[in-house]
C-alpha cells in the first residue's frame, strides 16, 4: 500500500485533450462512442463511479484582475471531462484509466488521488462544530 497515492477518498480521472477527434470519420466516432458507453456503464454497474461528466468548452478564467472568457480553443491539454472513481488503490485507478477507449487517438488520462482532509484542519472543524452545539 502506498500511502501517498492510495486513498479512501477515491481517484479523479481527468480526460485531457479536446481535439483528439479531429478528422475522424462519422462511423469511427459512433464506434468510439459505443465503446466509451459500455466502458462507463460497466464501471457504473460495478459501483465504481461516484460522479462523472463531460465539461463544456465554454467557461471563464479568473486570474488576478484579468478575466478571460471562452469558448477555449481546442487543445491537447484542456480537460474535456472527468470521472470521480470510488477506487482505493492507485493501481486500481490506473487499470481503469488504461481502458479508456480514446487513448489510441491521443487522449491523455490524468489520474489523481483525492487527498484526505488534513488532520489538523479536521480537528479545527470538529472543535468548531462542538462549540456551535
Amino acid at each position: 500500500m502506498n500511502p501517498s497515492t492510495d486513498t479512501n477518498n477515491g481517484h479523479l480521472l481527468l480526460f485531457r485533450s479536446t481535439n483528439w477527434h479531429r478528422g475522424m470519420a462519422p462511423e469511427e466516432i459512433q464506434r468510439i462512442m459505443a465503446d466509451w458507453t459500455s466502458w462507463f456503464e460497466g464501471l457504473q454497474q460495478k459501483g465504481m463511479i461516484a460522479a462523472a461528466s463531460p465539461l463544456e468548452n465554454e467557461g471563464h478564467i479568473v486570474a488576478g484582475d484579468a478575466h478571460t472568457d471562452g469558448p477555449f480553443a481546442e487543445s491537447k491539454e484542456s480537460i474535456g471531462g472527468f470521472f470521480m472513481l470510488k477506487t482505493t488503490t492507485m493501481d486500481e485507478a490506473l487499470a481503469i484509466a488504461r481502458m479508456c477507449p480514446a487513448l489510441p487517438y491521443g487522449m491523455k488520462v490524468e489520474v489523481r488521488p483525492v487527498a484526505p482532509a488534513c488532520p489538523a484542519s479536521k480537528m479545527v472543524e470538529e472543535a468548531k462544530a462542538h462549540a456551535m452545539a
Binding site: Q30, I32, M33, D35, T37
Partner: protein
C-alpha cells in the same frame, strides 16, 4: 477496438452517424450555399463530436437523428452570429435554418432532393473525373478520409489535398447546387451514374481494404441510385438498370466468402445465402428498366446478373442467354475485360477450345497481361483441355499478380489441382 455493446447502443442504427452525416451536409449546403460546403461539413462533424462527448454520460436521446440535426443547426446559428461574412444574409439564413423541420416523412423527401442536388454538384463536368468519386464519398456518404484512402489505396494526405482542391473548384467556378434540367440533364446524369457505378464496384471488387468499409460502399451506391430512381426528373430506364445491376450483384455478397475467408466462385456458392430481398428488388428495377427504348451497358450487366440470380443452381444457369448479353455488350464497349468475360460464357456454351479462340481474338489482349484473372481464366481453360503443365504456368502467373490473400489461396488450390494429381475431375 471492440467491446460488448452496451444495452443503450442497440437503439442506434449501426451506421446512423454515417447516414445522418450525409443527409445533414446536403440539407445544410442547401441553406449556406454550395460554396460553403466545408462549413456544412464542419458543423455536422461537430454535432457528431457533441454526441460522442455527451451521450455516453447522459444516454442516447429518444430520437438520435433529430438530436444531431438540432445540434448542427444550433452550431450553425452560433457560427453565423460570429461571422461578419454573413451579416447581410444572416436573417434570411437563420430563418431557413429555423424552418428546417425535424425528422418526418416530409423531411425525408426534402433530404432526398438535397442529396441529389449535391451529387450533381460533385459530378459536375468541370470537376476532374477522379475527384468526383472522392467528393461524393466525403460529402454525401459520410466517409472519413482514412476510409477513402484505404478504399482507393491512396495516402490520406493525397486524398485530403484532392478534396480541398475540388471544393475550392466548386467555389471558384460557382458550380450550381441543383438537379439540371433540359438538354443538360442527360449528359450530367451519365456522369452521376458513372460515379455511383464506380462507388459500387470499388466496394464490390475483392480488392484489399477493410471488408466492412467495402460493404458500406455498396450500400451507399445502391441508396444513391434508388434516390435517383425515385425522383421524377431522374426516373429513367438506365437509372433503373444501374440500380438493378447493383442490387442483383450485391445479393451474392453474403455467399461470396467461406467462413475461412476463402473466395468462392459462383458455382461453389451456397445459393441459399443469397439475399432474396435484394434479388426481388433488383428484378423489379430491371422490369422498369426495360420500359424505355434505350439499352445501356447497365442493362446488359443487369441482364447477366439476373440470369445468375434466378438460376436455382449452377447447372441450370442460362448460359446461352448470358452469352447473348455479352455479345450485345461487346458491340457497345471496346473494353478487353468485357471480351474476357464473354470468353468465359463462350466456354460454358461452346467449350474451352472456342473460348481460347475468342480470347485469341481480343484486340487489346496485351492490356490484360497484367490482370491476374486473365491468367486464371487461361489456366482454367488449359486445365479443362487436359493441358495441366500449361495450366500450372498460368495459375502461377495469376498468383504473382494479386496481393489479395483470399484470391491467392483460391489460385493456389487451383495450381495444386494440376501439378501433382494428374487429371483433376472438373465438370
Amino acid at each position: 477496438m471492440s467491446s460488448m455493446p452496451s444495452p443503450e447502443i442497440p437503439k442506434l442504427a449501426e451506421h446512423l452517424f454515417r447516414q445522418e452525416a450525409g443527409k445533414m451536409v446536403s440539407a445544410l449546403t442547401g441553406i449556406f450555399g454550395v460554396h460553403r460546403l466545408q462549413l456544412a461539413e464542419d458543423v455536422v462533424q461537430e454535432s457528431l463530436i457533441r454526441a460522442l462527448q455527451t451521450w455516453p454520460y447522459y444516454g442516447v436521446p429518444a430520437n438520435p437523428a433529430a438530436w444531431l440535426m438540432q445540434t448542427a443547426k444550433n452550431r450553425a446559428l452560433d457560427l453565423l452570429r460570429r461571422e461578419k461574412f454573413f451579416n447581410d444574409k444572416q436573417d434570411e439564413i437563420a430563418a431557413s435554418l429555423e424552418r428546417l423541420p425535424e425528422e418526418g416523412p416530409q423531411f425525408d423527401d426534402e433530404i432526398r432532393d438535397h442529396r441529389l442536388r449535391l451529387i450533381f454538384t460533385c459530378c459536375h463536368p468541370q470537376i476532374p473525373h477522379d475527384d468526383r468519386t472522392l467528393l461524393a464519398l466525403k460529402t454525401l456518404c459520410g466517409f472519413g478520409i482514412p476510409e477513402i484512402a484505404s478504399a482507393f489505396l491512396a495516402s490520406e494526405a493525397a486524398v485530403a489535398k484532392r478534396l480541398t482542391r475540388a471544393k475550392q473548384k466548386i467555389q471558384d467556378l460557382q458550380i450550381p447546387y441543383e438537379i439540371p434540367v433540359g438538354n443538360d440533364l442527360a449528359e450530367r446524369l451519365d456522369a452521376v451514374l458513372q460515379v455511383i457505378y464506380l462507388l459500387f464496384n470499388e466496394g464490390y471488387k475483392a480488392s484489399s481494404g477493410d471488408a466492412l468499409v467495402r460493404a458500406d460502399l455498396c450500400e451507399e451506391a445502391i441508396r444513391l441510385g434508388r434516390h435517383l430512381a425515385e425522383h421524377p426528373r431522374t426516373d429513367c430506364a438506365r437509372v433503373h438498370a444501374l440500380v438493378a445491376l447493383m442490387l442483383l450483384n450485391a445479393s451474392r455478397l453474403p455467399a461470396r466468402e467461406s467462413p475461412e475467408g476463402e473466395l468462392l466462385t459462383l458455382e461453389r456458392q451456397d445459393r441459399g445465402k443469397w439475399d432474396r430481398e435484394k434479388i426481388v428488388r433488383g428484378m423489379m428495377h430491371l422490369a422498369k428498366a426495360t420500359g424505355g427504348d434505350t439499352l445501356s451497358e447497365y442493362h446488359l450487366q443487369a441482364g447477366i446478373a439476373a440470369c445468375h440470380a434466378t438460376a436455382p443452381d449452377d447447372a441450370s444457369t442460362d448460359w446461352p442467354r448470358i452469352l447473348a448479353h455479352y455479345e450485345h455488350w461487346m458491340a457497345m464497349s471496346r473494353s478487353p475485360l468485357v471480351a474476357l468475360n464473354r470468353a468465359v460464357a463462350v466456354a460454358k456454351v461452346h467449350g474451352p477450345e472456342a473460348a481460347l479462340e475468342a480470347i485469341a481474338g481480343i484486340s487489346d489482349r496485351r492490356l490484360l497481361e497484367s490482370y491476374h484473372l486473365y491468367h486464371a481464366v487461361l489456366g482454367d481453360l488449359a486445365q479443362r483441355l487436359g493441358r495441366d503443365h500449361e495450366a500450372a504456368d498460368h495459375f502461377r502467373q495469376a498468383i504473382r499478380q494479386t496481393s489479395v490473400e483470399a484470391e491467392r489461396t483460391f489460385l493456389s488450390e487451383k495450381l495444386s489441382g494440376c501439378v501433382s494429381e494428374g487429371e483433376p475431375a472438373i465438370p
